[in-house]
Amino acid sequence: MALAVKSEGRDAIKRRALLSRAVFLVPGLTYITAFMLIPLGFIIAYTFLSRGTYGGIEFIFTAENYTRALDSLYLGVLIKSILIASTTTILAFLIGFPVAYAITKLPTNRQNLLLVLIVLPFWTNFLIRTYAWIVLLNTQGFLNKGLINMGVISQPLELLYKPSAIVLGLLYAYIPLMILPIYSALVRIDPAMKEAAINLGATPAQAFRQVTLPLALPGVLVGAIFVFVPSVGNFIVPELLGGGKTIMVGNLIRDQFLKARDWPFGSVLALSMVIMLLMLFFIQARVNRRVLGDARA
C-alpha cells in the first residue's frame, strides 16, 4: 500500500515535470519550427525545382540550379562578396578590439556610457545611416568641399561608388556588433590570471598575448560572425554606396526574387548563405572548445 502511494507520487512528479517541460518549451520551439525550419525546408525544396516563365515554381525536378551556381559568373560574385565581407570583418576586428579593450580600462559608470554611445547609432535607421555617407563623401559633398576650401586638394576625390565605399558602409553599420562581444569577453577575464602571468615573469606584452588575447578569442569569433553574416548578404550598401557597379550575393538573391523571378536559383544562393553561417558556427564551436580546454589545463 505504502509502496503504491510512493510510486504513484513519483509518477505524478514525473508527469508534472513532463507537463512543465511541455508548457515552457513547446510554444517557442513550435514557432521556430513553423517559421524558420519549415521555411528553410521550402528553400531547400525549391533548389531542386524549375522556374516558371513568369516566376513561381514548376514541380519538375532538376539539379540545374546548382550547376548554374557554379558558373564562373555567379561564383565570382560569391567570392567577391566573401572578400568584401571578410575585409570588413578584419577591419572591424582591428579597430574594434582596441576600442573594446580601452573601454574595459575605464571606470564602470564610464564603461556603461560608452557602451550606450557605441550601440546608439546602431538603432537609427540603417538606410538613413548609409545615406548619410553619400551626403558626406560625394564629389560635391561636405568632405570634398571642405578639403577644397582648405586648399588640401584641387580636384574632388572620387570616394564613392567603388568596393572600398561598400566596405566603409558595412564597417560603419556593423562595427558595434564586433565591439560588444569582445568587450563582454574581456570584462569576464579574471585580472588575477594576468597578474599571475606577470608574477611568473611575463612582460605585460607577453601576458596580453598569452592570457588576454586567447581568452578574448570566443568574443572575437562571435563578433566576427555578427559582422560577417549581415555583411555578406547585404544588398542595400552595394546599391547605395557602390553605385550599382558592384553586385554582391545579396543583390543577386534579391534580383532573382524581384527581377528575374527565378525562385529556384535564388533559393540556391540563399542556401549558400545559410551554409556559410553553419560553417562559421562549426569553426566557432571548435575554437571555443579548444580555448576552454586550454584555460582548464
Binding site: 516563365t53 559568373l73 564613392l160 534580383d255 527581377k259
Partner: protein
Amino acid sequence: MRISRTAIAATAIAGLLLGLSACSSSDSGATALDPNADLSTQTLTVSNWAAYNPEDLPAKFEEKFGTKVTITNHATNEEIMAKLTAGGDSGIDVAFVSGQFAQALAAQGLIEDLDKTLIPNEANLYPEAAQLAYDPGNKYSMPYSWGTTGICYRSDLMKGNEPTSWNDLLMPKPQYKGKVTMLATERWLMLPAQRALGYSLNTQDEAEMGKVKDLLVKAKSNLLAYDDTTFYTRLVTGEAVMVEAWDGWCNYGIAENKNIKFVVPKEGSDLFTDTMVILKTSKNKEAAHAFINYILDKDVQSWVVDNILYKVPNVPAMEKSLPALVGAYPNMGITPAELLKNEALVDLGDASALYTRIATEVTAK
C-alpha cells in the same frame, strides 16, 4: 495590470489568427460588372510610383463617388510585380505599371480585361494610344503617361561637345569620364548599347545580346554610377555632366537649372508607357473602372503634365497644358506620331532570363 496585459496579448494573437484565416478565400473569376453598383460601398487600394499622382486625388475621388481610396507607393516596376505575382490576393485593386509589365501580368492571367463601357473617357486619348505594341487596343491596360529615353546633359559644362549619339554616352570624351550615369533597370540598361549597335530593343538573339554586353562592359569603366532615381540631382550639383534619362525626369533637372538639356540620340530610342491595370483579385471592380475613368479626365491628367512634367496620351489635357510648358521644356512637345516612331518595349517572356543574366554579367564585371 497583469490581466490587462494578458488581455492585450490575447487580443493581438486572436487578431493574428483571424488575419491568417481570412486569407484563403480566393476570387471566383470574372463576374459581370454592374454599371449601377453603389460605389460608396466599395474601397480601393491603388499602388503607384511615389509622387506620380495629385496628392488630393483620393479625397477628390471620394467626394465625387463616395469610394474610400488608399494610395500606396512602389519605387520600381519590379517591386510591385513581385507583390502582384507572389500568389494570393495582394490587396491591390488598381496598379500602375509600365506597358511591358502589364503584358506580363496579362499573360499570367492576373489582370482583368477592361470593361470599356465603364471608361467613356477613353475617348480623350490620342488614336496613337491604341496602337501600343504591348497591348494594341488597350484591352487590359489604360495608358497614363508616355515618353522616351534619351540623354540629359549640362549644356554649359559640355559646350562644343553636346551629345548627339548613344556612343557619346557609352564612350565619353576623356574629360567627361566618371561624370556619366546610366539607368540600372534591365531594359533601359541595355537600350543605349542596343541602339548604338542598331539592334531591336526587344531582341532575343543571343549573339546580338553578347555584343550588347561587351559594349556595356566597356562603357562601365567610364561611369560614375548606375542610377535610376537621382540622376537629375547629380546634373544639378555638377557631380555628373551627362546621364541616360527618361524625358519627364530630365525635366525635373531642367526646372532647377536651365542649362540642362534633353536629346533623343540620332540612333533612336524607345517608347515607354506607364499604364493602369485592374487586378483579377479585386473585389471592387466597378470602383476600379470608375477610378481609371476619373484619371483619364482632362483636369486630372493635365495635373500630371503640369506637375510631373510627363507627356500624357490625353488630347484635351495636352491641349490645356502644353502651350505654357513647351517653351521651358522642349521635350514636352514631342508629338504622339514622333513617339510612335520609336520602338515600344514589350514583354520578353522566357528571354527575360537572358536579359537578367547579361545585366548581372555587366554589373558583376
